[in-house]
């Protein structure tokens, strides 16, 4: 049996967890077994039922409200107990902030090999080999897991969310909350916007934008297509933009469907954070900017002239559609 950790936020199963569920279901089909999900904390029947639509045969729900606050030790303990009780052979998580906190703990607890950052289904023809991203997106490694239980932590946006017609039955479990003694003092979430790590479309600005007073050009384009905004490191270092928008080697690594880079030269350290994007568009006034080599589409031109025109063209397309 394949056990998928379905992370929830305010009672809603996260998008990355639906990807993990789809991945778990496909792996299960490949191995001739079933995929089942684990949900920790408060979630209603409708939220749990969604997992059935992505291939869960069963949902194991630990409804205790103590799990509403994330705690790596308590989550690890609950998953480890369920995995043992249910005889799971593969555990699937997503490589998000929560997955990065739980995966390694769970691996050490169960002495189960972990592949962190998987990008494709396992090859089960000869053992259990999973392809993962290494060298900051510049290469892949095929990692063989040599233990009876295998843990796969799937990179966000690397495997689709694949609807399946099925309904999951729900089993309720009571597992005492074994917390690690970390007291949460405050939680500060950026409200109203899609977190960068979850965004499918991203518009990003670099030093070519000249200063924070010009960022409305980036924001208007982002708004027109419904994208999140990001920036290069010098932009965040100069406090033109908040630090959480910084992408690249030393900032966030993202893999959206569309990444539009405006006034960014495309230094190798910047590319390291965005090179897994499916489609890359570069707007730069320098035809020699290295970013064009990594791009799918490009416009050689002045951002201050191109951005308003591009935003208008998008609005026209949307109005006509």
């Amino acid at each position: 049996m394949i056990l998928v950790f379905a992370d929830q936020s305010e009672g809603q199963i996260k998008k990355q967890s639906l990807e993990a569920m789809s991945y778990g279901a496909a792996t299960a089909a490949q191995m001739g077994t079933t995929a089942e999900a684990v949900v920790l904390g408060t979630a209603d029947a409708a939220a749990l039922a969604v997992l059935g639509n992505y291939g869960a045969a069963k949902v194991h729900h630990v409804p205790a409200a103590s799990y509403d606050n994330f705690d790596a030790s308590a989550y690890t303990n609950a998953l480890a107990n369920l995995a043992k009780e249910l005889g799971a052979t593969v555990i699937v998580l997503s490589q998000t902030t929560s997955g990065k906190a739980i995966g390694p703990r769970l691996s050490a607890r169960l002495k189960a090999g972990l592949v962190a950052g998987a990008v494709a289904l396992p090859d089960t023809t000869n053992g259990f080999v999973v392809k993962k991203s290494v060298f900051s997106g510049k290469a892949f490694a095929h990692v063989k897991v040599n233990t009876d239980i295998k843990i796969v932590s799937l990179n966000p946006n690397a495997y689709g969310k694949i609807p399946a017609d099925g309904a999951a039955t729900v089993a309720i479990h009571d597992i005492p909350f074994a917390g690690s003694g970390i007291t949460v003092k405050s939680v500060n979430k950026v409200k109203g916007t899609v977190p960068l790590s979850e965004a499918e479309l991203v518009v990003s600005g670099g030093r070519g934008l000249k200063g924070p007073e010009n960022w409305h050009l980036i924001e208007n384009l982002a708004e027109a297509i419904g994208a999140a905004t990001a920036c290069s490191r010098p932009v965040a270092d100069a406090h033109w933009r908040p630090h959480h928008e910084h992408v690249g080697q030393t900032g966030g690594a993202i893999a959206p469907n569309l990444y539009i880079a405006v006034g960014i030269s495309g230094a190798i350290q910047h590319l390291a954070g965005v090179n897994r994007s499916k489609t890359i568009v570069v707007i730069n006034k320098d035809a020699e900017a290295p970013f064009f080599k990594a791009a799918d589409y490009g416009i050689v031109g002045d951002a201050f002239e191109v951005l308003p025109k591009l935003t208008d063209a998008i609005k026209q397309m949307k109005a006509g559609a």
């Binding site: 902030t97 990065k100 703990r105 950052g117 060298f135 095929h142 690690s180 949460v184 799918d296 063209a313």
Partner: protein, 247 residues
């Protein structure tokens, strides 16, 4: 409070990534190696700041690697730290590496183990969590701020779409990232001093790897950029809508 900072040797951020022996070996020829930036800029510098503020008594560095990592650990010692340990094991299996660090942390009675948020080569983000579990300690992942006061730690960490502030007691394990400290450039005195700081080489505990890398693969080359005239952004919109189907 005694701090143990985990240091990893990684290729420089601009290194050319290539593989030899049928894609089974990373080609080190011509590659510059550095201290993994997250270990150096954030974990190590914050540990030094805590010591300078009188909040930590001792800062040790640890690496799990062969003798080829000695210059890297000396580089880290040039930035600071009282002494270093190298566990003489070359492994790409995070569990094997974490087991060695956990053993050394327990043997040396370290109250706080700091790691970078990930290494820029294997990008596993795994060592900290594994060490925490092996030592049965709390683990704060992806921390952006850390302070200490009489055995209590206050930590900010990244969560999905925001930040969380929390408190815990030592002993603990924390992985560090941007926000925690500013990069330091080693000075001449540091570089000279690093040569004579104690570097203890210990043989590894036996441990069975849970995983192994069977081969590497390069991503397919991009087809090449399709350029659109700056006067015709509508054409770009059409391509993104009809060809790439992303908007």
């Amino acid at each position: 409070m005694k701090i143990l900072v985990c240091i990893s040797k990684t290729p420089d951020t601009t290194a050319k990534i290539e593989f030899t022996d049928n894609g089974t070996k990373f080609n080190e020829a011509g590659v510059q190696f550095i201290v993994n930036p997250y270990d150096e800029w954030y974990a190590l510098v914050r540990a030094l700041e805590l010591k300078e503020a009188g909040k930590a008594s001792h800062v040790s560095l640890i690496t799990v690697a062969g003798a080829d990592a000695d210059p890297i650990i000396r580089k880290a010692l040039a930035i600071g730290g009282d002494d270093a340990i190298r566990v003489n094991l070359n492994s790409s299996d995070p569990y094997s590496v974490a087991s060695q660090i956990a053993k050394a942390a327990a043997d040396g009675n370290y109250d706080l183990v700091l790691t970078g948020k990930e290494t820029i080569d294997y990008n596993g983000s795994s060592i900290g969590g594994m060490v925490a579990e092996l030592l049965n300690r709390p683990y704060v992942s992806l921390a952006t701020a850390l302070d200490a006061e009489g055995g209590k730690l206050s930590v900010n960490r990244e969560i999905e779409g925001g930040e969380e502030a929390g408190e815990l007691s030592i002993p603990a394990v924390i992985s560090c990232q941007k926000g925690m400290a500013e990069q330091r450039i080693p000075n001449m005195k540091g570089i000279m001093g690093a040569r004579t700081k104690p570097l203890q080489v210990i043989e590894p505990e036996s441990s069975t790897p849970l995983t192994e890398i069977v081969r590497f693969e390069m991503p397919p080359a991009k087809a090449g950029v399709k350029l659109v005239s700056a006067d015709d952004p509508a054409e770009l919109v059409r391509l993104l809508h009809q060809e790439a189907k992303v908007i």
